[in-house]
């Protein structure tokens, strides 16, 4: 991960009108808390020293999933070129948690931001080899022009934020 890649990622997200924050692991929980809109559901964050804010519900019920305004999930990597995050279909429900609520907060380690699609496919292939073979490349906000004009937030989230955890 170079500074260049991170800048590129930030620019791409800006173009997609997706929020971008770069924070130290120790402050991540606090930052997430300020971004989310309650009620919030989440999938636990597998990054060392980082935990979800207390009032984020993990292992939600379907009622909680439906009612949630925000879903916080880790993403296994991100692609700077397009501003893409890779959401895995894990047993703790990261896929529906990133999809159902109006806002998705994606958390990624800085070292997992790769420069381009090709590097993204290398990461994807490594994951497939390890049995993690269901992944969504999500780029920006859900959108449609089917009702005559571009509208965001159709079936998927209309707001997206990406939190990049600084390398130590």
């Amino acid at each position: 991960m170079t500074v260049d890649t991170l800048c590129r990622f930030e620019r791409a997200l800006e173009g997609l009108e997706v929020g971008f924050e770069r924070v130290a692991a120790a402050e991540a929980s606090e930052r997430i808390e300020t971004i989310v809109e309650e009620p919030t559901v989440g999938a636990s964050l597998p990054f060392e020293g980082v935990s979800l804010p207390d009032d984020v519900t993990t292992e939600p019920t379907t009622a909680e999933l439906e009612a949630a305004r925000t879903g916080v999930t880790p993403v296994s990597f991100a692609i700077a070129e397009y501003g893409t995050v890779a959401v895995e279909s894990t047993a703790d429900g990261a896929e529906p948690i990133s999809l159902y609520p109006d806002r998705h907060v994606a958390v990624v380690a800085e070292s997992d931001v790769v420069p381009d699609l090709s590097a993204g496919f290398t990461r994807l292939a490594e994951g497939f080899d390890a049995g993690r073979d269901s992944v969504v490349f999500a780029t920006g906000r859900s959108a449609t022009a089917d009702m005559g004009d571009l509208v965001h937030g159709v079936h998927g989230p209309g707001d997206v934020d990406v939190i990049v955890l600084e390398d130590r």
Partner: protein, 777 residues
């Protein structure tokens, strides 16, 4: 379905031009503009297209093997693969899966939510399921609008493109009777989201298509923007994916170029919002909204599986991959239709097509598919009759050729199917009038109008020999009525005026080759004197000017201008009487005739090519035949030799000027004289617009190029009664762009004719502007 008569077809097209055309044009042309811009900004576009093409060629080649590979992979993941022979087979299987996974209460209706899939449109899956008492809801907003309106897709990517926002608002206000009437896209989208969201959470089965299927991992890739496909796949316990067998690609790494290019070609986005790659059954917990207080992870798969990588997914999940054949195996074995199977259904060919932009997929489309490639799909999956209904809407302009991400020669597929349709027509007693004028090698009872236009060279020769009487006759009212009735030539269209003296005759009369040599030498002499120090000005080339049918018999002036220009630049010219190129025959789907003409033309030119003489062509469509279609009609060596030795006239002049010829020998402008220039569609595809622009600039003009898709005339197309109004509709978009310019030039004969009709003034070829002595208006 019986073929429509000409006037029925004309009525239908007129209706679509008025009703659906405006909305289609707005969306399709905007997508096309965005695609062009995105293509332009993608450095490795050509290598992406080449890679994508190569992967598809390989995959279709290995298809039987890939079907076995994917079966093993999906079964190892815990899912099931079913290969369906045809629509009925696929529908019965899906209905069965739904019945088995329906609600616990057997009397309740099973419910299915679907994401957009043209393949399920192809097999009419919704009707089949509804016939079995299954409730089906489309969740893609465009598809849902169609479902509410009981309408059919008009575009393979934007199915409801033909319905405008106010029309959707009216439809929804009437159907759903909201407290506050819907008006904005925002309101309509919110309503759809909530309404469909509830149906999705209650559904028993989710059905999706697949944009690609990775054989060795059993992964289906779905490319969407709304997120509904994700919801349909993840929410219900049972997921059925229906895909044509051609969607298989060997490995995950083969997916990369497609993920990179499909959104660019479809909508001009760098990448789609969601590229969903699932190897179902996935580990995602199933969502039971009927048990709202159970944690979603409570099922058997649950959070207990800490690795998150069980390999066989959540045990509550059930997955079926239905691979549809429905004619595809036969297409694979058909040397001409096979290419259709490389199609990734991005819709770029539709968006780039002028005729499509005017009428949409309800005019330019068959039972399921629409746009240029629909001819291949419909012929393959629904049969030739379905393709015959709309195949003539492809004028062979080649705008789609540069748009297609997998480099399919879409115009050629249209030509082939047209040829097959011609041949399958019932033999009727030949019309004596047409028979004498049609020395083709076609058989059967093909459309008389097509035969007439396919043999236009012979017609023109006869008309020229009897001009001006033939012109007076042709203009007479009763004759126009007969032409309309027998040949389908619309009586509103001006007919070409045939010249008594052909270009070839004129050239001979003024002394032929010997005189041309003297003139060229005199020009060289003058140039050398004017610039004594410059010894590089001697270009030392000789040219054979190809007298295409229109230049030879109708627009003789542009031929004369070309001869004079070349001589003024020191190039001696020959204008032999040469055979037709086959372009006219090709555009009517008369491949055998074109094949014979290509061989004859090559034979007639072989000696000149061997002698190092350059073949110079004025009419872009004839040059395009030599550079594109001849690859299929001539032996490779002959094709390459002619291709490498032939040039478009302004491209050739550009080369001469670059090599030291002096532009002052031509008619030059003052440096700022504005000229509106409309290139020719096929010329653009050959990348030959730029040389004309460069020549005009170096000769002191300030050319502005048009960016309209097409002039709408396209050879014979605009003459035909059923297409006259469509032709005018397309042409008016171009005319609107250039009408304010004082001088308008166009490279193609038909482009010039169309513009002259619409602008009511002369529209010469650029060479007429440049020729010594200038253009006399």
């Amino acid at each position: 379905m019986a073929q429509r008569t000409r006037s029925e077809q004309a009525d239908r097209i007129r209706h679509l031009l008025e009703t659906e055309g405006p909305a289609i044009h707005a969306h399709a042309s905007a997508s096309n503009a965005r695609r062009k811009e995105t293509y332009g900004g993608t450095d490795d576009l050509e290598s992406l297209r080449t890679d994508a093409r190569a992967i598809k060629e390989d995959a279709i080649d290995r298809l039987p093997e890939l079907i076995e590979t994917v079966r093993e992979a999906v079964e190892a993941n815990g899912g099931t693969v079913y290969v369906a022979d045809d629509a009925a087979d696929a529908n019965a299987y899906v209905a069965d899966v739904v019945e088995q996974n329906g609600p616990a209460d057997e009397t309740a209706e099973p419910s299915v939510v679907k994401s957009k899939s043209m393949t399920t449109e192809e097999i009419d899956l919704n009707d089949a399921l509804e016939g079995e008492g299954i409730d089906v809801t489309e969740t893609d907003l465009g598809e849902w609008v169609l479902q509410v309106a009981d309408d059919t897709p008009s575009h393979i990517v934007g199915p409801a493109m033909h319905i405008s926002r106010p029309e959707i608002a009216d439809l929804f206000n009437e159907r759903f009777d909201p407290d506050d009437r819907f008006e904005t896209a925002e309101e309509l989208t919110r309503f759809a989201r909530d309404h469909l969201g509830e149906i999705i959470t209650g559904a028993d089965v989710g059905i999706t298509g697949a944009n690609f299927v990775v054989a060795d991992s059993g992964t289906i890739a779905l490319v969407t923007n709304e997120g509904n496909a994700r919801k349909c796949a993840v929410t219900p316990d049972t997921h059925v994916a229906v895909a044509g067998i051609e969607k298989l690609i060997p490995t995950l790494s083969d997916l990369e170029p497609f993920v990179d290019i499909i959104a660019k070609s479809a909508t001009g986005q760098p990448i789609s919002q969601y590229v969903t790659m699932l190897s179902p059954p996935t580990d995602s917990p199933t969502l039971d909204f009927d048990a709202p207080d159970e944690p979603i992870t409570a099922g058997e798969g649950g959070a207990a599986d800490e690795t998150g990588a069980s390999g066989t997914g959540d045990p509550d999940r059930d997955f079926h991959l239905v691979l549809l054949d429905n004619g595809r195996t036969d297409m694979r074995e058909d040397d001409q239709l096979r290419e259709t199977l490389y199609c990734i259904r991005c819709g770029a060919c539709s968006n780039s097509c002028a005729n499509f932009q005017s009428v949409g997929g309800h005019g330019f489309g068959g039972e399921t598919y629409s746009g240029g490639i629909a001819t291949g799909w419909e012929a393959g999956v629904h049969g030739q009759e379905s393709a015959a209904e709309f195949n003539d809407l492809c004028t062979g302009c080649t705008n789609c050729v540069d748009a297609c991400p997998v480099k399919i020669d879409i115009p050629w597929i249209n030509t082939v199917v047209r040829d097959r349709v011609n041949r399958s027509a019932e033999s009727e007693p030949h019309d004596f009038l047409v028979d004498g004028l049609t020395p083709d090698v076609e058989e059967g009872g093909m459309d008389l109008g097509k035969r007439f236009f396919g043999n236009i060279g012979t017609v023109a020769q006869a008309a020229s020999a009897t001009a001006p009487v033939s012109n007076w006759l042709a203009d007479a009212g009763p004759v126009r009525a007969v032409l309309e009735r027998t040949l389908g030539i619309d009586r509103r269209r001006d007919l070409p005026s045939f010249q008594r003296e052909s270009l070839v005759d004129w050239f001979e009369t003024r002394g032929g080759e010997a005189a041309s040599r003297k003139r060229a030498a005199a020009s060289s002499e003058r140039a050398a004197q004017a610039d004594a120090r410059d010894d590089g000005a001697d270009v030392d080339r000789e040219a054979v000017l190809y007298p295409d049918v229109y230049t030879n018999y109708v627009d003789v002036d542009r031929g004369k201008a070309a001869v004079r220009t070349l001589e003024a630049l020191g190039v001696p010219v020959r204008v032999p009487d040469l055979p037709e190129s086959g372009r006219a025959a090709l555009s009517q789907g008369m491949i055998a005739t074109a094949d014979r003409q290509a061989s004859r033309l090559y034979a007639a030119l072989a000696e000149d090519l061997d002698a190092g003489r350059d073949v110079v062509v004025i009419e872009p469509s004839d040059l395009a035949a030599m550079h594109r279609e001849y690859e299929r009609l001539l032996p490779e060596g002959s094709y390459e030799r002619l291709r490498d030795g032939s040039y478009e006239i302004c491209e050739y002049v550009y080369g001469l000027l670059e090599n030291g010829a002096d532009p002052d020998a031509l008619s030059t402008g003052d440096g700022s004289q504005p000229v509106a220039y409309h290139s020719h569609c096929q010329q653009r595809t050959l990348d030959l617009e730029a040389p004309t622009v460069a020549v005009l600039e170096s000769c002191g003009y300030a050319p502005e190029t048009s960016n309209a898709e097409c002039c709408g005339m396209a050879g014979s197309f605009g003459y035909k009664q059923e297409y006259y109004e469509l032709s005018i509709d397309v042409g008016e978009r171009l005319a609107g762009q250039v009408e304010d310019a004082e001088t308008v030039v166009a490279s193609g004969t038909s482009c010039g004719d169309q513009l002259e009709t619409l602008l009511e003034r002369d529209v010469p070829h650029p060479i007429e502007l440049l020729a010594p002595g200038g253009y006399r208006t």
